[in-house]
C-alpha cells in the first residue's frame, strides 16, 4: 500500500479568477493516498473551482500542481483521467439519451477481441457495478428517464468503477437520501482503505465527521486552514467556514397552526409511483415528508406542483384546485421548488435577475408590459435578502456556484408569497451558514401564515423544522409522526422497512 504520508497531489499557490470574481486566491493543499480529505466552505467559496482545476476542466491562473512529487500541468479532463483523477461533479454530467450501462462506461466502452464495442460485457459489468452499489435499475434504461437521485447514483457507479487514485466527490451526496449516502460512504471508506485518495466536498457535517480525517476550509477563495477531523469540534469548523457562530440553527416560530391551508385527498399518479395519499397542512405549519429514493415523496411534490399528471383532490385554502399543470398550481397559490435545479429550475443562459424575476411575471407586469425598474430593485433586494453571491445581477446564472443558484430558486419562490410552499430538497447544496439563513426565512413565511410541505432526504432538517412528519415507503404513506421528540432512527426504520421499529423488532 502507498505510503500514507507522501501526498498524491500537492497544490501550491493556486489562484483562479473569472470575470468579476476571484474564485481562488493562493490556495495550497495536499491530498494523500488513503486519506479522505474534506473540502468545505460557504457557497461560492471556490470548492468546485478547485475540484475543476484538479480534474482538468479549468486552468489555474497561478500556482502549481504536483502529482507524486512531479510538477504536472493538467490541461484537459482526459489528462486527469489518465493520471487516475476521477471526479463526480456537482452538476450532473451524464449523457441523457444514452443508457445507464453506457453512461457508466462513457469514453471507455468494453471492447471485444476485435476492438469492437462489447455490448454484452457493457451491460453485464454495469449490472454488476449497480448490484454492488445496491442500485436496482435496469442498465438498459435511458438515463433521462431516471429520477435525479438515480442519476446521481449512476455518476457514482461510473466513478468508482474506474481505477481511481484520487476520487473527487463534489457534493455527490447532496441528491442522495440517508440510506444511499450511507452506502456511498461505505464505498468511499473501502476505496480509502485500498489506498485511494478522496477529496470530499460536502455541506453535510455528519458525513465529514464520519469519513474524513482532515478538513480544508475555504472562504472567499482563500484557504482558512486545514484541520484534523474528527478532533476539531463542529462549531469550530463552522466558525472557520462562516466566520461566526451559528446559534439557533433551525430557528423557531411562534404561531399556532390555524385554518387548513392544504387538504389532499387520495392524490395519486397513474403509474403507481404515488399511491393514494391524503393529508392536511394548516397555515403556520410545516409538514415534513421523509422517505427513501423512489418512495414516492418526490412524486408527491411533483403532483402538488403540477409537474406530473395526477388524480385525486387538492384543496388550497378551502377551495378545490384542479391541478393538471404547473400553471394551475401557481394560480391556486402553491409555490413549488423542484428537486432538480439544473433540469427543472434554472434558466441556464439567462441572467440572475431574470431567473429571479421568472416567478414574478404576473405581478410585475401591467397589460403584459414589465415594470423593469421595479423589477431591478426587487431583484437586488432579493439577492441581498437571500445572500446570493454574484459579481452582479446581470451575469449568467450558470456562472454562479451551485448553492447560490439554489438560493435564487428559493428566493424567487418565497418572494411570491404563496399560501402553500411545496419544497423538494430545498437546501440541496446550500452551505451551513446559508442554510440557517434559509431556515429563518422559511420560518418567517410560516409565521406569516404559509403552510409548508417540506420534502427532504435530510432527516435533521425535517426533524428540526417540521411539526409533523409523513414517512413514505413504496409509493405510500406508512407512518405519520408528531415531530415533538421524534428521532432519526424511528423515521429511518419506517422509510426502510415500511413498518415502525416496534413492529420490526
Amino acid at each position: 500500500m502507498t505510503d500514507s504520508t507522501a501526498p498524491f497531489i500537492r497544490l501550491t499557490g493556486i489562484s483562479k479568477s473569472f470575470p468579476g470574481v476571484r474564485a481562488l486566491d493562493d490556495v495550497s493543499l495536499d491530498i494523500r493516498a488513503g486519506e479522505v480529505h474534506s473540502l468545505t466552505g460557504e457557497n461560492g467559496s471556490g470548492k468546485s473551482t478547485l475540484a475543476k482545476i484538479v480534474n482538468g476542466t479549468h486552468q489555474p491562473d497561478a500556482g502549481t500542481v504536483e502529482i507524486d512529487g512531479v510538477p504536472t500541468v493538467i490541461t484537459k479532463p482526459s489528462t486527469a483521467l489518465a493520471l487516475g483523477i476521477v471526479s463526480i461533479s456537482q452538476e450532473l454530467t451524464l449523457a441523457p439519451t444514452l443508457s445507464v450501462a453506457e453512461n457508466i462506461f462513457i469514453g471507455r466502452m468494453p471492447r471485444t477481441r476485435w476492438g469492437t464495442v462489447d455490448w454484452d460485457r457493457c451491460v453485464r459489468e454495469a449490472q454488476a457495478i449497480l448490484d454492488d452499489l445496491r442500485v436496482h435499475v435496469n442498465p438498459r434504461t435511458a438515463v433521462r428517464d431516471l429520477s435525479l437521485e438515480l442519476q446521481q447514483e449512476i455518476e457514482i457507479a461510473r466513478a468508482i468503477s474506474t481505477n481511481a487514485r484520487l476520487l473527487i466527490l463534489d457534493e455527490a451526496t447532496s441528491s442522495l437520501s440517508e440510506a444511499a449516502t450511507d452506502r456511498l460512504l461505505e464505498i468511499v471508506e473501502e476505496q480509502r482503505d485500498r489506498g485511494v485518495g478522496v477529496l470530499m466536498i460536502s455541506h453535510r457535517m455528519p458525513e465529514l465527521y464520519r469519513s474524513c480525517s482532515v478538513a480544508s476550509v475555504l472562504r472567499d477563495g482563500r484557504l482558512m486552514g486545514t484541520v484534523p477531523l474528527p478532533q476539531t469540534p463542529e462549531d469550530a469548523l463552522v466558525r472557520l467556514m462562516v466566520g461566526r457562530d451559528l446559534d439557533d440553527y433551525f430557528g423557531s416560530r411562534d404561531v399556532t397552526p390555524e385554518a387548513v391551508a392544504l387538504k389532499v385527498t387520495d392524490l395519486h399518479t397513474l403509474d403507481g409511483a404515488l399511491l393514494p395519499t391524503s393529508f392536511e397542512v394548516r397555515r403556520g405549519e410545516i409538514l415534513g415528508v421523509a422517505g427513501l429514493v423512489g418512495s414516492g415523496k418526490a412524486e408527491l411534490g411533483m403532483a402538488l406542483g403540477g409537474a406530473i399528471p395526477s388524480a385525486g383532490t387538492i384543496e388550497v385554502g378551502g377551495r378545490e384546485a384542479a391541478i393538471t399543470n404547473p400553471r394551475q398550481a401557481v394560480d391556486s397559490g402553491i409555490g413549488y421548488v423542484p428537486d432538480d435545479r439544473k433540469g427543472q429550475a434554472i434558466l441556464p443562459n439567462r441572467s440572475v435577475a431574470e431567473n429571479f424575476a421568472l416567478a414574478w411575471r404576473g405581478t410585475l407586469s401591467r397589460l403584459g408590459v414589465l415594470r423593469v425598474r421595479e423589477e431591478a430593485t426587487l431583484v437586488r433586494d432579493g439577492m441581498r435578502r437571500y445572500g446570493v453571491v454574484a459579481a452582479n445581477e446581470n451575469v449568467r446564472i450558470s456562472t454562479l456556484s451551485g448553492g447560490n443558484q439554489q438560493k435564487v430558486v428559493l428566493g424567487r419562490t418565497f418572494a411570491r408569497g404563496c399560501t402553500v410552499f411545496v419544497l423538494s430538497e430545498p437546501t440541496r447544496g446550500i452551505d451551513v451558514g446559508s442554510k440557517s439563513q434559509v431556515y429563518a426565512l422559511l420560518q418567517e413565511q410560516v409565521a406569516a401564515g404559509a403552510a409548508v410541505v417540506l420534502i427532504s432526504s435530510e432527516l435533521p432538517e425535517i426533524l428540526g423544522l417540521a411539526d409533523r412528519v409523513l414517512v413514505f415507503h413504496r409509493g405510500g404513506v406508512h407512518a405519520e409522526f408528531d415531530a415533538e421528540g421524534l428521532d432519526e432512527e424511528t423515521v429511518a426504520a419506517v422509510a426502510v422497512s415500511g413498518r415502525p421499529q416496534t413492529a420490526a423488532a
Partner: protein, 350 residues
C-alpha cells in the same frame, strides 16, 4: 440603441472595477455583435472607398428596401429560435400570403381588405401550425416541414403557377405607396422597418411574453413549472412568425407589383443565416432583434457591394463565404452546435 438590445445581460459593460480584479480582456460594449459589426464596418468602408455610389442616399434606401422582406422573415425566425424552436415554412408562407393578397387585389377588393388579407392569412397559417404543434402535439420539425411543402404548393395552385399581376388593380395603389412611397427623403418602408424592429425589441425586452419566451427557450421545463403556459407560448410564437410572413408577403407584392407563385429558393436560408449571424443561438433562450437587424444588413450590404463592384456571379459565393468566415468567425460569435468552450490558457506564475 439600448432598447433594441434585447439581451442586456450579455452585452453588459464591464462590471464595476472592484468586482473585477483580474479581468483581462476588456470587452467592447457591442458584446456578442463585435465580430459582425466590425466586419460590417470594414466592408462598408471598403465599399465607400471603391464605389462612390455606395454611400449615396439612393443606394442606402435601396439596400433597406431590398432587404425588408428578409428582415421581416428573419424577425419572425428570431422569435421562433429564441423560444427554442425552428420554422422551415416561413419562405413558403411568404409566397402563400403574397398570393392571397394577389387574389384579393385581382378580385377587386378595396385596399384595406386587400392589405388585411395577407396579414390574416399569415395569422391563420401560424395558428394552424401552432395548434398542430401545441395541442395535437405533432413534432415541430414535421409540421413546419410539411407546411413548407403545402404552402409552396398552395401558392402554385391558386393561379396555376403564374404570377398574379396586380399593377392595375383598383386596390393596389395604397400597397404600392406603402412599399415604394417616401415621406420627404425617407422611404415609408424604412420607417415601417424601424417601427417593426422597435416593436419587436420592445416585446422581447419589456413584456411578460418576451420574458417567457426567453425562459422557454432556455429551459422549457423550468418555464413550465413556473406557470408559463408553454403550449400557448408556442402558439403565440407561430402567430408572430405568421404575422411576419404576412407582412413580408405584403411588402414583396408591393415591391414586385405582382404576386409571384414561386419564391426565391434561398430566402429561408438567408433569413435563418441572418438570425444566426446576429447571435441568436439555435439552442434557444438567447439573442435578439438588434443582432438580427445587423445580420440582415451584413448580408444585404455584401450582396449590394458585390453587385456594385460587379463581382462575377460565380465568384460571389466565394467572396460571401470568405467574408463570413474570416470576419465574423474570428469575432466574438460563439458556437451553439457542438460547443467546445475555450478555456483561457493563461501563463502561470512561479
Amino acid at each position: 440603441m439600448t432598447l433594441l438590445d434585447s439581451d442586456p445581460t450579455l452585452s453588459a459593460e464591464t462590471p464595476p472595477a472592484d468586482a473585477a480584479p483580474a479581468r483581462r480582456r476588456p470587452r467592447l460594449s457591442l458584446g456578442r455583435f463585435t465580430g459582425v459589426v466590425v466586419a460590417l464596418l470594414a466592408v462598408c468602408v471598403y465599399l465607400a472607398l471603391t464605389q462612390p455610389v455606395f454611400l449615396s442616399w439612393g443606394n442606402i434606401t435601396n439596400i433597406v428596401a431590398s432587404n425588408s422582406v428578409i428582415l421581416l422573415l428573419a424577425l419572425g425566425a428570431t422569435f421562433v429560435i429564441i423560444g427554442g424552436g425552428f420554422d422551415l415554412s416561413s419562405a413558403s408562407a411568404l409566397s402563400a400570403t403574397g398570393m392571397v393578397l394577389g387574389l384579393a387585389l385581382q378580385a377587386g377588393m378595396p385596399a384595406w381588405v386587400a392589405i388585411a388579407s395577407p396579414i390574416l392569412a399569415g395569422l391563420v397559417i401560424g395558428l394552424v401550425q401552432g395548434v398542430l404543434i401545441s395541442y395535437v402535439k405533432i413534432s415541430m420539425i414535421v409540421v413546419t416541414l410539411g407546411f413548407m411543402s403545402i404552402l409552396a404548393s398552395f401558392a402554385l395552385i391558386v393561379n396555376k403557377g403564374a404570377t398574379i399581376s396586380v399593377y392595375g388593380a383598383p386596390g393596389f395603389d395604397p400597397v404600392y405607396q406603402f412599399v415604394n412611397g417616401t415621406v420627404g427623403p425617407v422611404p415609408v418602408l424604412m420607417i415601417f422597418d424601424a417601427v417593426v424592429l422597435l416593436a419587436a425589441a420592445f416585446v422581447l425586452r419589456y413584456t411578460a411574453f418576451g420574458r417567457s419566451l426567453f425562459a422557454m427557450g432556455s429551459n422549457p421545463e423550468a418555464a413550465r413549472l413556473n406557470g408559463i403556459n408553454t403550449a400557448m407560448m408556442v402558439l403565440f410564437v407561430f402567430l408572430i412568425a405568421g404575422l411576419a410572413a404576412g407582412l413580408a408577403g405584403l411588402v414583396s407584392v408591393g415591391r414586385l407589383t405582382g404576386a409571384a407563385a414561386a419564391s426565391d429558393p434561398t430566402l429561408l436560408m438567408t433569413a435563418i443565416a441572418a438570425v444566426l449571424i446576429g447571435g441568436t443561438a439555435f439552442t434557444g433562450g438567447e439573442g435578439g432583434v438588434l443582432g438580427t437587424m445587423i445580420g440582415v444588413l451584413f448580408l444585404g450590404v455584401i450582396q449590394n457591394g458585390m453587385t456594385l463592384s460587379e463581382i462575377p456571379a460565380f465568384w460571389q459565393g466565394t467572396v460571401n463565404g470568405a467574408i463570413l468566415i474570416l470576419a465574423v468567425g474570428i469575432g466574438v460569435l460563439r458556437d451553439r452546435g457542438i460547443r467546445l468552450r475555450r478555456r483561457a490558457i493563461t501563463t502561470r506564475v512561479g
